[in-house]
Symmetry: C2
Subunit: 137 residues, 2 copies
DNA sequence: ATTTTTTATTTGACACTCAAGTTTCATGGG
DNA sequence: CCCATGAAACTTGAGTGTCAAATAAAAAAT
């Protein structure tokens, strides 16, 4: 029974994060998959189409047109691969990196807000719990 | 600095939940918004189009065609409203309720898995933290 | 009784998703 | 070296979600 309540709290947390992300992204004139691509590129640096598709859990077919649109908005750049002429490296442009940093900052601010009513001890416990749970996937 | 790590753990948690949800739903031949509608109807019982749209954070225009498709798959049923002839009540069918219960069960199982390496004390702390954070939105 | 608001639907433009097919290139076996 | 196989990216078509704007019907307000 206790587990059910915990499950409920997790689901609610997930729903609220999803909704927040949706709203924040739309204000920037981007879609969820688009900002997701910028996040991955921002965190892991430049990578090939195939790699990015794997990180995003989608196909290169889907990604091609998504990158077309991000390129048109000048958030991202296609560069030739050094050694493999089949591959293409996707890089953030300066405006793309700035968009990533802004979004990252919003995430940080949200975390601060969410955590503001927790004690230091609770924060540490939460951190431990999340790390353990993230490994369990 | 500590807050940044906590933020990172939250984002990672969110990403993994999103990815899990995506995969699970696709196996059932449904889309994310479709299962979301079934979840809301399963938890809060029947409701009008407008109410459901509000719960889902979308417009009734979007919802109309989504409900069309769920109705075609016999997960959901349109019923006339008792007193307001403008309104339409959306109900889960038996197969729709079963789909909801199955999905709910999977969520529960995921929670069990995630939580399996936490002590009882940690689980209680996590529960407290999530409740506090959910209120802070 | 007339006007305004609410509710649902329809439609058009755009985006994401996948699968299937195409092109270009890399790699390994003959 | 040549060819077969596989890999990487692109293209296309069908289906779905998203929003805004327009429409129709009914309730609420004046």
């Amino acid at each position: 029974m206790e587990l059910e309540e915990l499950n409920h709290a997790i689901v609610e947390f997930y729903e609220k994060l999803s909704s927040w992300e949706h709203d924040v992204v739309r204000e920037k004139g981007l879609t969820l998959p688009q900002i997701h691509a910028l996040e991955i590129l921002g965190i892991h640096e430049s990578m090939r189409m195939k790699e990015l598709a794997n990180w995003m859990g989608t196909t290169t077919g889907t990604l091609t047109v998504l990158i077309d649109r991000l390129e048109k908005k000048d958030y991202v750049r296609r560069c030739p691969h050094k050694t493999d002429r089949r591959s293409i490296i996707i890089e953030l442009t300066d405006t793309g990196r700035q968009m990533f940093l802004e979004h990252d900052k919003l995430h940080m601010q949200l975390t601060e807000t969410m955590v503001s009513d927790l004690t230091q001890e609770e924060r540490e416990c939460l951190h431990r719990c999340l790390n353990t749970m993230n490994k369990a996937f």
